[in-house]
Symmetry: C2
Subunit: 223 residues, 2 copies
């Protein structure tokens, strides 16, 4: 589907039908997700897809009981590694091979830089991984919608409880949840007017930053 | 353009032509950006677009001299507010009006919740705003590419120096930079094979999370 049309029609939807997402379609959605950009192409993202009713129930318990977690065909825990160099060797070897880096010395210097980021504060590393991983999460939601699969990004969950429940290793950080499923035929959300957005002239500032004094809402992308 | 095709062909590109982006096209790109999802639809994003050579030069000085900042038609500083309730009143009023919330009491409770997030640590708030703002930044890059405008996301800049140079108020956080411009006809990047990505079976985990032991790179979305 046309990207403009995707943006125009995408809704964050929590009401799903029972129609299952087939494995090939899900794989295709994640093939697109995998193509997202990231700082230094380090691809810090990981996706834990829960499809079994029992697993989704466990996630729901650490997500304040939100119904869409079990109603969805697939509930995805979006994780980011906080180890910048986790994939650096393979990534920079690829750069040398394809001509993005001149030689092995340039590669060694880059690996050293990226490994050095590890010395940054834990908070900086969590923000670093949040940034690139969210780029992939947005790609996931557009790729899903292109297949007619609705999504709902969620940040309401108990991060520590989630890490404990799903035995997430220390160097991974839960970034957000994304539920995926075909829209319910009678989804109430689809009967409602789309939620408003801040207009372009309030969010886009030229040459200097002066925040708008008030918030107005409209639909910047016209139907 | 088809979203699959956008994902397949998008490259992070630093080599731009001199062809200017016209105002209407830029506005249309940001109209799509504005439609991105965000937690509670709070839309914490702001975009400072630098188009004057002098402004881009000032940004380049706080971005380690990277050439693409001045070579681009437009260099965008992507900012996020760390005040979750900045737009809450307007956003939840819109929910009441459109039937997403039953009444004014429900609205008052939500505003209270969101205002309470302000008590969270500064680091949590920075991570919160990074998450939603990066969703908009990814939308910006796809929307640009749909118009044939290439982009390069950048996280290499001195955040404190940027805040000082552009007089960014305390409650806003620089999330990343995105340069925008039409590709140079002789862009070397376009002659090179696209940078590899971690394959779906390494990033997608079903039911339990076991990180892959090694990194391999391929192009998950086939040409």
């Amino acid at each position: 589907m046309d990207f403009t049309e995707l943006v125009r029609t995408r809704r964050s939807l929590r009401e799903y039908s029972d129609e299952p997402i087939d494995d090939t379609t899900l794989e295709q959605v994640f093939a697109k997700t995998a193509m997202a950009p990231s700082g230094y192409n380090l691809q810090p993202w990981e996706f834990l897809a829960l499809r079994e009713p029992e697993s989704k129930k466990r996630l729901q318990e650490v997500a304040y009981g939100q119904e869409q977690v079990t109603d969805a065909d697939t509930a995805v825990v979006v994780l980011g590694t906080t180890k910048p160099a986790a994939h650096a060797e393979a990534v920079f070897e690829d750069w040398v091979k394809k001509g993005y880096l001149p030689d092995k010395e340039a590669k060694a210097r880059l690996i050293e830089n990226v490994t050095g980021m590890r010395e940054s504060s834990a908070d900086n590393l969590r923000r670093w991984t949040t940034r690139s991983t969210a780029l992939a999460a947005m790609t996931l939601m557009y790729a899903a919608w292109e297949e007619g699969i609705a999504s709902c990004p969620m940040e309401g969950f108990d991060s520590e409880a989630l890490v404990e429940e799903f035995d997430i290793p220390d160097e991974y950080e839960p970034i957000m949840l994304v539920t995926l499923g075909y829209p319910a035929a009678d989804a109430k959300t689809l009967d409602r007017e789309r939620k408003g957005r801040r207009p372009v002239d309030e969010i886009l500032h030229f040459e200097e930053f002066e925040p708008a004094e008030a918030t107005t809402l409209t639909l910047p992308l016209k139907d």
